[in-house]
């Protein structure tokens, strides 16, 4: 008897999110479950891995296996899991502080390593869980945090440019206010064989009420995207205002995955020590 197809709501765990009413992350959760339903993923064969932050609470809200680790280390935990269990669909979720600041080094190397997983960064340009500090993607003149009363004074981190430079083969940007586009992006990202990076502009209603204005400025890419051409992708990203959405770059790269067939027994290996 064929199992009836799962609907998006079947992928929700039923645990009530800690997010503020109006938080952009609700839309990301909805889009992810829709993407999972669209792809017909078997729930128990999915692992959602995260670090720390508002967005990193997402794994518990999905009805699959989840791993809610420590701040900045989601990609590392996910890489270990994928290396050990390549048959699983691994989705990593987190925020801009988690991914680009404390976890920045893992971001670079996950792009390089190109293991088959999807990395969703819900970017709201602020640390929400610690109550409103500037993040790596905050503009340098934003003065609303007591911790940086003069603004950070340093340029923003450009996630797409850095992902491209570090060797990511799939780079996309979505917006929580465009849920159906986001679902499509996530479907493509999960289907992409390799490390797929999706930056989602997901506004923080509490600490960045100004982000309500995003709906006025978010727009599709005007260039032909996605491109397979690295140089063209770099040009698009450098010319971009950070508010264009769509798949920017998608190019097949060799996927790294340890694949080792057992070919001997330990007792035989131990013979090397015998004199």
């Amino acid at each position: 008897m064929p199992v009836p197809a799962l609907k998006a709501k079947d992928y929700k765990s039923g645990i009530k999110p800690v997010w503020c009413p109006g938080c952009g992350h609700f839309a990301v959760l909805a889009a992810l479950t829709k993407a999972m339903a669209h792809l017909g993923l078997v729930k128990e064969d999915v692992a959602v891995v995260s670090g720390i932050g508002c967005s990193s609470r997402l794994p518990a809200y999905i009805d699959s296996y989840g791993f809610h680790g420590i701040h900045g280390r989601a990609l590392a935990a996910a890489s270990g899991l994928k290396a050990a269990r390549p048959e699983l669909t691994v989705v990593v979720a987190g925020g801009d502080g988690d991914g680009f600041s404390i976890g920045g080094n893992h971001f670079l190397h996950a792009c390089r390593r190109n293991m088959d997983m999807t990395y969703i960064v819900m970017d709201n340009e602020v640390y929400g869980m610690t109550k409103g500090q500037a993040s790596p993607t905050t503009r340098p003149t934003w003065r609303n945090s007591k911790m940086t009363p003069h603004g950070t004074g340093i340029p923003r981190f450009n996630p797409a440019a850095i992902a491209l430079a570090a060797g990511a083969g799939f780079i996309a940007r979505g917006y929580s206010g465009e849920p159906s586009e986001m679902t499509r992006l996530l479907v493509e990202a999960i289907e992409y064989p390799g490390f797929a990076f999706v930056q989602v502009l997901s506004g923080c209603v509490t600490y960045r009420p100004d982000q309500r204005g995003w709906k006025e400025v978010v727009h599709p890419f005007i260039n032909d995207v996605p491109t397979e051409d690295r140089i063209k992708a770099a040009q698009i990203i450098q010319a971009d205002d950070g508010k264009a959405t769509g798949v920017i770059y998608a190019s097949p790269y060799p996927v790294w995955q340890p694949e080792n067939e057992k070919e001997t027994e330990l007792a035989l290996l131990e013979e090397e020590f015998s004199l």
């Binding site: 720390i52 609470r57 518990a60 791993f67 048959e87 699983l88 001997t264 131990e270 015998s274």
Partner: protein, 578 residues
């Protein structure tokens, strides 16, 4: 030449040190002597010492062999073979000589340095350079090896077998010229030590380093995934494991840093694959937050910490037992976990296997405190028999509707499922959680889970392997990890003098087996706690756990010099006076 006095100075063993500038082949020569001794049926140990330079600089190989197991260096060297005199002063502290010692050197290398003459050791000159230059590809270390073999009483056949084994990969030509050079050195001055070591029957032995032995233990324990970042002195363990894990169907991933390596193995272990990393002090410091995550999410992992001189970058190439404090107390929060220390190179196999399997069974963190003196030393040991340790993770493959990942069970070990298992889905979490795994900051959930994580370790029966206990008597020495070797040697020496002494070498440091330890030292007149660090970390820990009697004393000597038997015997004598 009169060699009447050249008896081995620690009865029943022979100790030789070979020194030379970088590239002179001191360590290769040491390895050949060690394995030649093995061909004669002896057991042995080779430690090495090198400066921080990557190439060049100076290096020394210290070899001791005996009919009995050798787990430490003695007080004095019977023989020093100086391939040259470059930077010899840097080793003066590490190679104690006496008037009973013999120095073999090449007159062409210049005068014997003053500080070596002052101990009045006898000097035998062998023209290494002249002999070597008369041969195609002749090497002075091989000439020296021949002279050394004659003095040690190792037969030429055993030396030849060892040379062929150790130099095999260098090709026939190299082996042949090495054998010719060695024979010249051997026949130059045919005066062996008198008396030589007792003859023993050749037996089946292993030649292995502590780092390799930890690797074997990891594989025996079922480890199939390793993620790690290179660090001295742990890298050789990783280099040994990488190709072998592959052949066994596992893998080693070189991570971008230690933060990644610990989290990668946590991820892999969450997937159900027994996982391990190896590092040294600075790397362990970076991993500590991850250890807390593994512990609270109850994801088993094992970390082998090959200790070196600390803190900070410290002395990366030399040994110290100074990471007990961080291993015991480094984690924030109430974070009970397992801490082990192998007691010898041979014991690295068992202890690592035990640590891996207990981490799996108890769903917790195992820290294994090896050190440079174990990790980078080569030993000839009786082959460690395969050990059938029963413990493993009890995985539920068909969870029922009542499945709760963090359920409070009778033995406090919660049921666990693996990704891919229908009906067993949960989110592992570093946030405190309830029995279902749902994050919770409620006092009752916190208390229940804290209790569970403590009691599953406290109530487990660790059997007799928590320590090695030898002897009985009014004097008692307690030690841990690698210094067990020298402590056991002290006890043997004292017993030969008719003194009754008990030694307790702790293999399981946490949870401390307080009751068993307390019973063993009850009524002891003298208790001496011996360790290789500055602060007396074990001594303070045992006091904090209220197991030591008031009169207990601490012998804490920091690295990098090894603790020698005489130092401990003196400490015991002092303690006797007070």
């Amino acid at each position: 030449m009169n060699n009447e006095n050249k008896v081995s100075q620690t009865t029943g063993s022979f100790s030789v040190a070979i020194t030379g500038s970088g590239g002179s082949g001191a360590v290769t020569a040491g390895r050949i002597v060690l394995e030649a001794a093995a061909h004669c049926g002896y057991q042995g140990l080779m430690t090495r010492s090198a400066g921080p330079q990557i190439r060049g600089g100076e290096s020394a190989a210290m070899v001791r062999f005996s009919a009995d197991p050798v787990e430490c260096m003695g007080d004095c060297y019977d023989l020093l073979v100086a391939l040259d005199w470059l930077n010899i002063e840097r080793f003066a502290d590490e190679i104690p000589l006496s008037e009973k010692s013999l120095i073999i050197c090449d007159p062409a290398a210049g005068e014997v340095p003053v500080q070596l003459r002052s101990n009045r050791a006898e000097i035998r000159e062998v023209p290494f350079k002249v002999f070597a230059s008369g041969l195609p590809e002749g090497r002075i270390n091989m000439v020296a090896l021949g002279a050394m073999a004659m003095v040690c009483g190792l037969p030429l056949e055993a030396m030849e077998a060892s040379v062929s084994g150790v130099l095999q990969s260098k090709g026939e030509q190299v082996v042949e010229s090495a054998l010719r050079a060695m024979s010249l050195g051997y026949n130059h001055d045919r005066h062996p030590v008198n008396p030589p070591l007792p003859q023993v029957k050749k037996r089946s032995v292993w030649s292995i380093t502590g780092n390799q032995a930890c690797g074997v233990g990891a594989l025996r324990g079922g480890v199939k995934f390793v993620a790690a970042y290179p660090i001295t002195p742990a890298s050789e363990m990783l280099e040994w494991l990488a190709p072998r894990l592959e052949k066994l169907g596992g893998s080693l991933l070189q991570a971008e840093d230690e933060l990644a390596s610990i989290n990668m193995i946590i991820g892999a272990s969450f997937g159900g694959v027994p996982s391990l990393t190896a590092t040294s002090g600075p790397g362990l410091s970076l991993m500590v937050e991850g250890l807390g995550l593994a512990l609270v999410s109850e994801t088993p992992v094992t970390v082998v910490n090959v200790m070196r001189g600390g803190p900070s970058t410290g002395i990366p190439t030399k040994s110290e037992q100074a990471d007990l404090d961080i291993a015991l107390y480094g984690l924030h929060g109430d974070a009970p976990h397992l801490v082990f220390a192998p007691l010898s190179i041979r014991d690295c196999v068992f202890t690592t296997q035990w640590a891996v399997q207990l981490a799996e069974h108890l769903q917790t963190v195992s820290l294994v405190l090896s050190d440079q003196s174990l990790g980078q030393s080569q030993a000839i040991i009786e082959a460690p028999a395969a050990n059938a340790i029963p413990w493993k993770r009890a995985i539920e493959t068909e969870p029922d509707a009542a499945f709760m990942r963090y359920r409070i069970t009778a033995d406090k070990i919660s049921p666990v499922t693996l990704p891919g298992t229908p009906g067993g889905m949960y989110t592992a979490d570093g946030l405190e959680h309830n029995e279902r795994g749902t994050p919770s900051s409620m006092a009752s959930d916190h208390r229940e889970q804290l209790n569970k994580r403590l009691l599953k370790l406290e109530r487990f029966d660790y059997g007799d392997d928590w320590a090695e206990i030898e002897g009985d008597g009014d004097d008692c020495i307690i030690t841990w990890g690698s210094t067990a070797g020298v402590v056991k040697e002290v006890a043997r020496l004292l017993r030969q003098q008719g003194r009754a002494i008990r030694t307790i070498s702790l293999r399981l440091l946490a949870p401390l087996q307080r009751q068993k330890l307390g019973q063993l030292i009850e009524g002891a007149e003298r208790v001496l706690v011996v360790e290789q660090n500055h602060a007396g970390q074990l001594f303070r820990y045992l006091h904090a756990q209220a197991v030591l009697p008031e009169q207990a004393e601490s012998l804490a000597q920091p690295g990098p010099l090894p603790l020698r038997p005489g130092r401990i015997i003196r400490a015991l004598a002092d303690s006797r006076v007070s």
